[in-house]
């Protein structure tokens, strides 16, 4: 399953360590929320990067205290139609200021890339190779956005108002 | 006519067929005995047991490109062998609306 970052397929620096398996001595790891919370300090003591896979049906509260020390958070789309991770992503970025890697996992398909980018995801475990290859073009599908999210894009409303200001300023 | 979209168990009330809609234009189609589809009810493969129905439905569902929403529906087989729709819903699907088109 290709990983996409910065709009292109890239090597995944993180190793997903299944529950029960020993943590490798070095290298970035992704562990489940359950495992992480059993002994977060022990896991974070590792020199290498730690990421947590957070389920989409669990509040972020228990994760928030550790965000500053996490290199990555992976959120889950069990089905592309289950949109809970979009809320989680926005809360992580916009409310809790998380600036590490925010990864989309699960049924990650082409036609949700733009929504995911807008919600704050910057890494994507893409189901299909063809979708991963099309990421860059897909991300450019839309140039107009009506509502503000944490992605910094100016909304249509504000673009209009800016236009009007500059028009009248130019007079 | 309870929507067959809610079908889970396969239990035949009598002779049945598998029907769906053609993906590209939505036209009503019937699964034939030749692993294909026809827009004519008379070409529909008739099944009489749950197993036969399950097999036919599985085969129909596998054609995801050509057809959508396949399900098992009842038919009436007349003495001469002619196949008629088995309920009002299938009657409407094969014959059209029970009301006149406005245009």
């Amino acid at each position: 399953m290709p990983l996409v970052k910065n709009a292109k397929i890239t090597n995944d620096l993180f190793v997903h360590v299944p529950d029960g398996a020993e943590l490798p001595g070095n290298g970035a790891i992704l562990v489940s929320a359950a495992r992480f919370l059993e002994d977060p300090e022990a896991i974070l003591r590792r020199a290498a990067k730690v990421g947590v896979i957070w389920p989409n049906n669990r509040d972020l509260d228990d994760l928030v205290p550790y965000l500053e020390r996490l290199a990555a958070v992976a959120l889950v789309f069990p089905s592309f139609r289950d949109g809970r991770a979009y809320s989680q992503a926005r809360l992580l970025r916009e409310r809790h200021g998380f600036d590490g890697e925010l990864r989309a996992t699960g049924q990650v398909l082409r036609d949700q890339f733009v929504f995911m980018l807008r919600a704050g995801f910057d890494a994507f475990e893409v189901r299909k190779d063809s979708d991963a290859e099309a990421f860059a073009t897909t991300a450019k599908r839309y140039s107009v956005f009506y509502q503000p999210t944490g992605d910094g894009r100016v909304t249509a409303l504000h673009r209009r108002m800016q236009q009007r200001h500059s028009e009248s300023a130019g007079q | 006519m309870t929507s067959p979209l809610e079908q889970k168990k396969i239990k035949l009330a009598g002779p049945s067929m598998v029907t769906a809609n053609r993906t590209w234009d939505g036209v009503v189609i019937y699964r034939t005995a030749q692993q294909g589809w026809s827009a004519n009810l008379s070409d529909a493969a008739i099944v009489r047991t749950s197993d036969e129905a399950r097999t036919l439905l599985g085969e129909a569902t596998a054609d995801d490109v050509g057809a959508i929403g396949a399900y098992i529906a009842p038919v009436e087989v007349e003495d001469g062998g002619a196949v008629r729709p088995g309920n009002l819903r299938e009657h409407i699907r094969s014959e059209g609306l029970t009301i006149a088109l406005p245009a």
């Binding site: 949109g83 | 929507s3 245009a103």
Partner: protein, 551 residues
């Protein structure tokens, strides 16, 4: 009318390109139906019994004549020459081909029409009062706020995959013509004691299998906070709405299971953390949207022009005028309702020819504007009273002047089993027969205001729960049966109707309705006691007795 600018049009065009690509990938097999279905729903494309159905958005029920002509064009070019106006102010085409949809959408995009989010588990058309902007006594035009909400909810990245569909309605009048109490979020616009504009916010209304009247979650949300407050509600719903059972996935179930106080508390907690954000609407933003709405340059006209005085001699004209013409907030003008409920016809349908003709009449007599009401009729909102006689002649010629607005034959019906794959029973032929039984206008006027709503299944797209008389199609042993309820209301006194007895077979429904009406005429305290008030006063029993005495 809101004027779409380059940005709005760019978004619609980008959406069309995206859907064109998605259809291509579906037809090539690159996308499975399982992956595609939600995408096509998000563009208003359903599968019905014998074809696809295409639901086009008419934001808050407002159309320009140019847009109505484009709808006629789609009906002619891609469909079978007609369209159906829905209980959510949208229009549906019933015979569309998937392969041609991107072209149809492209044609519509040229006039600023789209089908974004008219289906799927997302936020749907923000409906409003079809008399918005022209109703006397209105606080202010609710469509400004509908447009703000429409933009806010369109392609919202966080809320495009909700547990289930989500519907908004806004009213700004004392008499609620938008049925806000049966919506997921209902907004009542008003000015508080300090003169500030804001909303009473209701949540959790809805019909279907488990009908609920919406509950007030917050009595006053300031206009500037409405988007952030709505975002808080949607976020709580997105996270906690049930996803395990589609029959329990609407917000009304979450509100019911938590209780309104707890739900309000959850929303308030969320809102307090994000209320002062980019979503706060300052005056300049509201003014920006308001400035894009254009209003007619009304003339100063007499209330009783000569043309009207002369036409008063024509009883047919007068019958229509008294029934279908309503008071406008500007003197000398009227609000005219066009009946899409001809005797013997399917309710809410219009042919391409009718649409073109109505567009021309709108240009001549209504400043180019048409409205769609959730009762499935059309409205010309700015007609000068002096033009009423000549307009009437033209409307009568094209068959949209049946003087039955709000009367027993002004029936609201879903498409039912003739079209819909969810249906248990047919609804259109029932409606048609009822219009024939009550075709006599004197009788209909004698009966007075009486709303009949027909749904072909429990999903209640015909809003039968809130009909004065509600008719629900069910299936019994392969036969079509109908449950009858009475006493429902959809307005500010919204309530569900009460079942009068066991379901009756298809062939008897019209007789039963006649019996109910007869009972009402016999039981009413005065000629002007409305049906729904007689039911309130006497309860269901006297009606039940009369209907089931011989059945």
């Amino acid at each position: 009318m809101y004027a779409y600018d380059e940005l709005d049009r760019t978004l619609i065009n980008e959406r069309v390109s995206e859907f064109r690509d998605q259809v291509k990938r579906r037809l090539s097999g690159e996308l499975t139906e399982d992956e595609f279905k939600m995408l096509r729903l998000q563009n208003g494309v359903y599968l019905q019994l014998h074809a696809y159905m295409f639901r086009v958005a008419i934001p808050y029920g407002t159309l320009s004549s140019k847009q109505l002509r484009a709808l006629a064009h789609v009906a002619r070019k891609y469909d079978r020459g007609y369209g159906h106006f829905t209980t959510r102010q949208n229009i549906q085409f019933n015979w569309i081909k998937l392969a041609e949809l991107p072209d149809a959408l492209a044609d519509l995009a040229e006039v600023g029409i789209h089908a974004m989010q008219t289906s799927g588990n997302n936020t749907r058309n923000v409906t409003s009062d079809q008399w918005a902007g022209v109703a006397p006594g209105e606080v202010e035009d609710p469509r400004i706020w509908s447009e703000l909400l429409r933009q806010y909810t369109t392609l919202h990245p966080e809320f495009s995959f909700l547990p289930r569909k989500f519907k908004f309605a806004i009213t700004a009048s004392d008499h609620d013509r938008a049925a806000i109490k049966i919506h997921d979020i209902g907004l009542r616009l008003y000015k508080n004691a300090e003169g500030a504009t804001g909303f009473e916010v209701l949540v959790g209304g809805g019909l279907g299998r488990t009908p609920f009247i919406g509950k007030t979650i917050k009595p006053f949300v300031h206009g500037r906070d409405i988007l952030s407050y709505v975002e808080a509600i949607l976020r709580v719903y997105n996270q906690y709405g049930r996803r395990d059972n589609i029959y329990k996935a609407r917000i009304k179930i979450l509100v019911h299971e938590l209780g309104i106080e707890k739900f309000a508390h959850e929303v308030e907690e969320e809102w307090q953390q994000m209320r002062d954000s980019a979503l706060t609407l300052d005056d300049s933003v509201i003014e920006e949207i308001r400035s894009r709405f254009s209003y007619p340059a009304y003339e100063r006209l007499a209330h009783m022009p000569d043309e009207l005085k002369k036409a008063a001699h024509d009883p047919k004209f007068e019958a229509w005028r008294r029934n279908s013409v309503f008071t406008h907030k500007v003197q000398g003008y009227s609000i005219v309702t066009l009946s899409l409920k001809p005797v013997g016809g399917p309710p809410g349908d219009a042919t391409a020819e009718q649409m073109d003709a109505i567009a021309d009449l709108a240009d001549k007599y209504s400043f180019g504007e048409i409205r769609v009401g959730h009762e499935q009729n059309l409205v010309l909102p700015h007609v000068a009273r002096r033009d009423l006689p000549v307009l009437w002649k033209a409307l009568d010629k094209i068959g949209v002047a049946t003087p039955n607005i709000n009367l027993v034959s002004d029936i609201i019906a879903c498409p039912g089993l003739d079209y819909c794959s969810l249906a248990n029973a047919r609804s259109i032929p029932i409606a048609q027969e009822l219009t024939r039984r009550f075709a006599n206008h004197d009788t209909a006027n004698l009966i007075g205001r009486l709303h009949i709503n027909i749904s072909g299944c429990i999903n209640a797209c015909g809003h039968h729960h809130v009909g004065h008389i509600g008719i629900l199609g069910v299936e019994k042993n392969g036969e079509e049966f109908y449950q009858i309820t009475i006493g429902g209301r959809a307005d500010e006194d919204a309530q569900m109707g009460t079942l009068i007895g066991p379901a009756v077979p298809y062939g008897e429904v019209a007789d039963v309705i006649e019996d109910i009406v007869e009972a009402y005429l016999a039981l009413r305290a005065r000629p002007d006691e409305l049906f729904v008030d007689t039911v309130k006063r006497l309860g269901v029993e006297p009606f039940r007795e009369r209907v089931y005495a011989t059945r």
